[in-house]
Subunit: 362 residues, 2 copies
Amino acid sequence: MSIGPVIGVIGAGQLGRMLALAGTRLGARFAFYEDVPSSTSETLGKLYHQHQLQDFISSVDVVTFESENTPVALVDQIAQHKPVFPPAKALFTAQHRGREKNLFRSLSIQTAPFALVNSLAELEAAVESIGLPAVLKTTTEGYDGKGQAVLRSPDDVVSAWESIGHRELILEGFVHFQRELSIVAARDAQGNTVFYPLVENQHQDGILRLTLAPAPAVSAATSAQAQTMVQAIMDTLDYVGVMALELFDTENGLVVNEMAPRVHNSGHWSQDGAWTDQFENHCRALLGLPLGDASQSVNACAMLNLIGELGNWQQALTVPHAQVHLYDKAPRAGRKLGHINVTADSEAELQQTIERVQGLLG
Amino acid sequence: MSIGPVIGVIGAGQLGRMLALAGTRLGARFAFYEDVPSSTSETLGKLYHQHQLQDFISSVDVVTFESENTPVALVDQIAQHKPVFPPAKALFTAQHRGREKNLFRSLSIQTAPFALVNSLAELEAAVESIGLPAVLKTTTEGYDGKGQAVLRSPDDVVSAWESIGHRELILEGFVHFQRELSIVAARDAQGNTVFYPLVENQHQDGILRLTLAPAPAVSAATSAQAQTMVQAIMDTLDYVGVMALELFDTENGLVVNEMAPRVHNSGHWSQDGAWTDQFENHCRALLGLPLGDASQSVNACAMLNLIGELGNWQQALTVPHAQVHLYDKAPRAGRKLGHINVTADSEAELQQTIERVQGLLG
């Protein structure tokens, strides 16, 4: 018998795993809705397969999801019986690049120039108004460059249209940015919000490699701008839980790339560098508990993803103030297997520590 | 299939729970050997009942235990197949007050004056040499005042002997102390050790209520003395894992009360106030990983036990830098249900935060 509440998670990957580790600390239990067993569902809660939806619903008090690709219809169905946070509206918006960018535009949040295109004629008109280079993407699905084509000259237009072959596409103009930032925030059902500091993200092959918290050399105005953006988005969506907003830092201020209606890889540093980590704050929001302080508990923090292989992570444990988080997953190219958080008193010291850890990982 | 190692835990209470939360972070899995299901065995690993010992042994890579009352014979049996840490010798010593105090004495560690007594005549001789008041205890078992009698005058001797009615007893002289302290340390198989700071413990009705980390107003010499004591004990026992040493702070320096061959309630503060918590360091020692920095990550930290009832713990979450840890156990008088760690920049601020949390708990 469970004394505490039961949190249901759609999906059972590393985000569900870290949610469960944080929520279990608060006395909650976890159930996972997923077809494929994983280390998370095998170790941190009860697994319900997809044909056991009614049992899953019966067993939980509140439901959340790991992925922005969670079917909205599934969330709608569950929401008839148990509360689901973040709300389906956030998922519905995040799953469609057009809806998402229209939401940002409606809130006066700067995005890349964009146009929805449903025909070759519309694409040609959009190229005319947005200019080249630009990226043609499907409005739904697709990530890490799949379902996308870069248009560099007018000669590319027809071949791009034919190669993607999708009815509804979006053309996005290029954004010239200095670096990629993100902000993670949490909102509870009463509308209280907490903001993690703006962080800098460094990608390689489209996969996040390193997060620096806080982002170096960010002005108070830029931080405030990021908070205003994510606050407006969460408020308009009646959002409950943790949200991440991916941003471009440009000469003309912040430009939003996309939102993630969930805990986010760029918030993992908070496990060791913030007073309350993103996973705990997501659980607190789900359970109607007061949100915790999202400010940094250390001057400088970084998160290094372990991708494809773990390397000599045992040696990284010898570095003072390096914390290793492993997901108990088999190595595979491009797969996120864990991460290492390091903390330091200063940015300079942090940089040294990062290099030391990277050197030891080999 | 497990990618990481499997740690077996004999017992599945809150200590096993917090070991599993820390070890899972490092990619390990957990199996519990216990007859009664608990929230820990239901949520954080696989439960093996006592008739499934061979299956338990087959499923794990290394074994530890939650309680100093774990049968030594069981540990010896398991140790024929899989490594068990801490070693059986530590358990064997900790389970017998005479053996324990003789070990301390052999290492020139100051204890209360004591004598083993196996007859009324031996008891009378011991009272003569140790003086009164003194406490007569069984050498094995018994805790929280059970199996004990306080002797205040020579008239109490016969009745105490008869009331306990045990073959082998120990008479311990009173120790006049200012306060109770403890030190938690970890040792790996290579003999490397790390020490958590000396902490102050406040008990009520024989149950730990509050730990202050570090213990206020402790001299460097006293800290060094505590480290020397626990180091000597761990070295002589070829100890691997976390050990706690309960100490009396007296006018004549530290006097040891007893040792606990396991993670300890007075080390729970380390989850939020040390660079590496005691549970992770115990797991690291079990898994042959480098030990982590055991020093404080905050100036001042306290742990408040939640005993018998949880009170309004939700409100405690509103206090900045208060972290709630719940064990998902049904309330019952005297039962440890959770704890709250609070951190502060100074002892004065810590005291205010403790009072604020206590006030909110109601």
